[in-house]
């Protein structure tokens, strides 16, 4: 029996599960990456491969244990390494003796036939094209709802009166969206969830810092890989605005570029006029846009040895200087410890707060 699975990335699995089940597949849910996932992944990946490759490798091995034999993932056309991951995963898994198949979705704009063929393979229920589009639309709506809730949690968490309420509430309302099925149900569940989140008791007097978060997509989107950095920052009284969500990224990369994407590109142009793959140029562009919106600081997240982010980081020094906005970079890998990260973040937040308070004092009332 065919069992389908896919890599874990934030809360997106809820939407993918629904979509794949609708198409008639039996789905094996990927577990949230844990110590065990990392150990498995590190053991079977090249040493200098970047962090996402190792996590996804571990994730694959875990779902294979549970009986998955068809994996669905995204491809890429370079120059970032991520485009070759599926190839490397497939070869490594076969070498380990797992007869799995991997379906790789390339950008449909460049490979339309590959897209249609892949959808066909994942459609054992033989739904009509119209029904498939309907399913994708519903999945998309769910993805949007999930992203929206995450955004709201970032806004509310720094102001919450009792630490931890937002996180608890967020986990609770996620289940509501998860159990919604039709488009109407999803919209209703989302509205109810937003209402519920807004009821969290908040302290509006607090001095809240605004922080932009830029970097590589996987470590931004998967809390298990960035050690829940958003939660840590929220608890420190920082409102995080993340530059990337799955829905936004997908829109930019599947059919056509959005105006948002173009703005980021234009912003980055004086510093980096070239597409260097991954999210290097986006990191620079977003940093500049955040600086123009008077944010208090930027945190850049990147996997260890990530090529585009290394280029971006080198250039961000200058951006940080030109726009006088502090930038803190974390290169994450399996060795990163939470305590060390929290200490660095606390120091960074203290500095940002001092800078903000000083600026407020100097300003003529």
């Amino acid at each position: 029996m065919r069992k389908v699975s896919f890599p874990h990335m934030g809360e997106s699995y809820r939407a993918f599960k629904m979509l794949l089940t609708d198409l008639g597949n039996e789905v094996v849910l990927p577990p949230r990456p844990s110590r065990r996932t990392l150990n498995l992944g590190v053991q079977h990946s090249p040493e200098f491969a970047c962090f996402p490759l190792k996590i996804v490798m571990g994730n694959y091995l875990e779902v294979i244990d549970k009986g998955a034999n068809l994996l669905v993932t995204s491809g890429g056309v370079g120059p970032c390494r991520a485009g070759l991951y599926a190839e490397l995963h497939k070869k490594t898994l076969r070498e380990l003796g797992h007869p799995v198949d991997i379906i790789v979705f390339e950008p449909p704009r460049l490979h339309p036939i590959n897209f249609i063929r892949n959808v066909n393979r994942l459609n054992p229920a033989r739904l009509s094209i119209k029904a498939i589009i309907e399913c994708i639309k519903r999945g998309w709506r769910k993805l949007q709802a999930l992203d929206n809730l995450e955004k709201i949690s970032h806004i509310i968490r720094p102001e919450e009166l009792h630490r931890g309420t937002t996180t608890r509430m967020y986990k609770k309302v996620l289940e509501w969206v998860d159990s919604a099925y039709t488009t109407n149900e999803i919209i209703e569940a989302e509205a109810a969830a937003v209402d519920e989140m807004n009821k969290i008791p908040r302290d509006h007097e607090r001095l809240i810092l605004n922080l932009g978060m830029v970097g590589e997509i996987y470590v931004l989107l998967e809390p298990a890989s960035n050690l829940e950095i958003e939660e840590v920052l929220g608890n420190l009284g920082v409102r995080v605005e993340r530059s990337m969500f799955l829905t936004g990224w997908t829109r930019d990369n599947t059919w056509k570029e959005t105006t948002e994407g173009m703005t980021v590109k234009d912003a980055a142009h004086p510093y980096l006029p070239e597409l260097i793959g991954g999210h290097g140029r986006d990191s620079i562009g977003h940093t500049i846009l955040y600086a123009k919106r008077n944010f208090d600081g930027i945190v850049q997240l990147a996997p260890f040895t990530c090529i585009p982010e290394i280029v971006a980081r080198t250039i961000l020094n200058k951006v940080s200087h030109d726009y006088s906005i502090p930038v803190l970079t974390f290169f994450l890998d399996e060795q990163t410890g939470k305590a060390g990260m929290v200490t660095r973040l606390e120091a960074f937040v203290d500095l940002m707060r001092m800078k903000k308070m000083q600026a407020a004092k100097l300003k003529p009332a």
């Binding site: 200098f48 190839e87 980081r313 290169f331």
Partner: protein, 323 residues
């Protein structure tokens, strides 16, 4: 007008062409020459800690040229064959130097991307010439001459010389004795030209092997046609030009009867190599050619690398005697 060309990365691929081009346009070309201890230290200090060794070296070379030149020539080479591009670090190289180092001279960063337009390389050189306020015929003449020199350079590479030696021979007219002697073992050293040929960072692996009485071939020594004809069974083509070449060249060497061993030389922190090395491993496991993968960084010691090479050579010799 003095133009500076850092002696790292693309230096080992395009330096003859660039030098002739600028000299024909009556500009002085200054290169930073061989890597020194000081350059390594500077590069390691100034470049991001997570960058790979070759990029750190490039920073060191660029800094060595800082006060000696009026402009730095760091073209943004995106794609030369309409198929594969270069590593993201190459694509962002001019920007990294411009924004990553203080007080650098202006950078000439013409973009070369053959997927955009036809004759992209020629267009890029025209743009460079016009930037230097030269007339179109003068630039065309210089370009033609530079191509001739580059061809000469390629011919020398095919006859078994390494890029650094070939550059020496093209410009200093040194008559070198042939480096390939018959009746010896032949090793293929695969890896990127800017790692293999940088004597400091590669701890001079090529000459070390030669001193042990071994002929050395690198991917630069085989013709582009034989490289292109190799197929590796990765479903997807490598995105990066250098990696694609290394992978295909390794395939080519592994199929030759006269190659006794293959050494993959890669640099610490090299992104593409993390994948290339694994693919070479998987590809080679079905063949019987001895294979060693050697990772170098700014701390590699003469003795450590020497010992590993000797051990490898000994084992290959023993295997040969046993047959």
């Amino acid at each position: 007008m003095r133009i500076g060309i850092p002696g790292a990365l693309f230096y080992f691929v395009y330096y003859p062409m660039w030098k002739v081009f600028f000299e024909e346009l009556e500009t002085e070309v200054i290169t930073s020459g061989k890597t020194t201890r000081e350059m390594v230290d500077n590069g390691v200090r100034e470049a991001l800690a997570d960058a790979c060794v070759p990029v750190k070296l490039f920073f060191g070379h660029a800094m060595a040229l800082k006060d000696k030149v009026d402009q730095l020539f760091i073209p943004r080479i995106v794609c030369m064959n309409s198929k594969t591009v270069y590593c993201p670090k190459f694509l962002g190289l001019p920007d990294m130097i411009r924004h990553g180092l203080p007080d650098m001279p202006p950078v000439i960063d013409v973009r070369i991307d053959t997927r955009d337009k036809r004759f992209a390389a020629l267009r890029a050189f025209m743009a460079t010439g016009h930037m230097l306020k030269k007339s179109t015929p003068a630039v065309l003449g210089a370009y033609a001459k530079s191509r001739v020199t580059q061809m000469k350079f390629y011919r020398l590479l095919r006859s078994g010389f390494q890029p650094a030696e070939a550059i020496d021979m093209v410009f200093n007219r040194i008559k070198a004795k042939p480096v390939i002697t018959t009746g010896q073992m032949t090793f293929a050293v695969v890896g990127y030209p800017y790692i293999i040929n940088d004597q400091y960072i590669s701890v001079d692996v090529v000459n070390k092997l030669r001193r042990m009485g071994i002929n050395v071939l690198t991917p630069d020594n085989i013709s582009p046609l034989s490289v292109a004809m190799q197929h590796y069974d990765s479903g997807k083509r490598m995105f990066w030009t250098f990696s694609d070449k290394v992978l295909r060249a390794t395939r080519y060497f592994a199929d030759r009867k006269n190659i006794d061993g293959i050494i993959h030389l890669s640099a610490f922190g090299c992104g593409p190599d993390s994948i290339v090395d694994r693919f070479i491993h998987m590809d080679n496991s079905r063949r019987s050619v001895p294979f060693m993968s050697l990772t170098i960084d700014e701390h590699s010691g003469e003795a450590g690398i020497g010992t590993r090479l000797e051990a490898f050579v000994d084992m290959v010799k023993r295997k040969k005697r046993g047959e």
